[in-house]
């Protein structure tokens, strides 16, 4: 930029300005690592460092008298010993329970949890027999999480993969900034659900609050009930046969299939009017100003 004067830039076409400023060299499509898959790679289902756990080896873990850190460390210790099913007793609304589990496991939480429960997980199957507070399943990578009752706000914030299920209703900003995965809600969801969603799927069997899918870039939201209002750039799209097959499979799997089927669901996607992915605009504004 320093080598080109403002006067010179003003005399150029936009394409010439772009090249003079060196702005076409940075690609927006992701970094190439120039790596190739090995077609003869061994068939493995677990990370090399994952503990070898057996779903049939079961134990209880009482949360009473322990801190959250101690409970979470105990879960890891039990997994290292091969326990594949762990039942947490007396959670009593503790925060951040069950976070950072990075391999397969059946975790059953008998009671309710506080905020940020079961975040940052990569693989386990978790069932919570009570309620959960804010941001359950935040940044989840893989696995299944089933909440039998209601959940607080920002349910599944920034989720990247896996199935996050609440059989009851959830608060506002469900799936805010979600980048993948599936969020299923049996009841209603609050305002600004799917805010800045980038990809993934959200299914709400009940009603959705105001500004659904506001500023979503991509991804899909299916709503079985009424939508109070759609947010900026969230638009209705056609429900395809493939969508219906997928919805039927997913909802049946978690025992949440509505009596009237899935034909009545409304599909919401991004209108793509807010796509500002190109890196020229900040510099263009500088030029204009």
């Amino acid at each position: 930029m320093a080598s080109v004067t403002d006067a010179e830039l003003k005399g150029m076409t936009q394409e010439e300005r772009v090249k003079a400023l060196g702005m076409t060299t940075e690609q927006l499509t992701g970094k190439s690592l120039y790596m190739e898959f090995d077609p003869d790679a061994k068939e493995r289902f677990a990370y090399p460092w994952a503990p070898d756990v057996d779903f049939n080896k079961r134990t209880d873990l009482d949360c009473d008298g322990r801190t959250t850190t101690e409970v979470n460390a105990s879960i890891r210790d039990l997994m290292a010993e091969g326990y594949g099913t762990i039942v947490l007793k007396n959670p009593r609304g503790m925060h951040s329970l069950g976070v950072g589990i990075l391999s397969k496991l059946n975790l059953i939480i008998e009671g309710s949890t506080g905020y940020f429960a079961i975040g940052l997980i990569d693989g386990p199957n978790v069932r919570v027999n009570g309620r959960v507070g804010w941001s359950c399943g935040e940044n989840m990578m893989a696995g299944t999480v089933v909440i039998e009752k209601n959940a607080g706000s920002t349910f599944g914030a920034a989720i990247r993969g896996g199935d996050l299920v609440c059989k009851g209703s959830v608060g506002s900003r469900t799936g805010i900034d979600m980048k993948g995965g599936t969020i299923l809600v049996g009841g209603d969801t609050g305002a600004l659900s799917g805010f800045m969603m980038q990809r993934g799927r959200m299914v709400v069997c009940g009603n959705a609050g105001k500004n659904l899918g506001d500023s979503m870039y991509d991804g899909t939201i299916f709503v079985g009930g009424e939508i109070k209002s759609c947010g900026v750039d969230a638009v209705e799209a056609e429900l395809t046969d493939l969508d219906k097959a997928w919805l039927t499979r997913k909802l049946t799997q978690y025992g949440m299939m509505p009596d009237k089927g899935v034909d009545h669901f409304t599909k919401i996607v991004a209108g793509k009017q807010l796509w500002n992915y190109d890196n020229l605009e900040p510099n263009e504004k500088k030029l204009i100003l």
Binding site: Q14, V18, M23, T24, L28, T29, G30, K31, S32, L33, Y34, M35, E36, F37, D38, P39, A41, K42, E43, R44, F45, A46, Y47, P48, W49, R76, K104, N106, G123, N125, M141, A142, G143, T144, R160, G161, G162, D163, G180, G181, T182, R199, R201, D218, G219, L242, D243, A245, W246, R249, Q253, V269, K272, Q273, W275, N276, Y277, D278, E281, E284
Partner: protein, 137 residues
Amino acid sequence: MAGTQYRGSEIKDVNQFMDDAAGLETEREKEIGQHIGYRYDVNLVPDYDRITPFLKSYMEFMGWDDLNWLEDIHMGYEEGSPAVFDRNINGWVRIPDSIELPDNQQDRDMIARELLLKFQMSDRHPLVSLRKAYMKF
């Protein structure tokens, strides 16, 4: 005006980004010299009739009834080559030429899922070294 209209290309054909590596279609893309948006349909849900035996075994191993996180994995295209985005290393990994590609995106996605899974679970994945260097627990 910036930010008021969709400026990316539509995906019309399964080989679109292999036949035309740059994939520049709209005026805006030609102007900036870059394709806007993904090179595949991120919203395409899997067709479970096309699932492979290997993926079925993985689901069984993990105790899942569906593809779970792999539902978000698709075959994309990088510089004219088929490739898969690996979220664990924030980069593209290419499909070797020796693998014959089916003529539809659904079957290509199943291949992408198999290859990515085997790669992520292997000792040659970069996360193995990163974990040794930085793991906290």
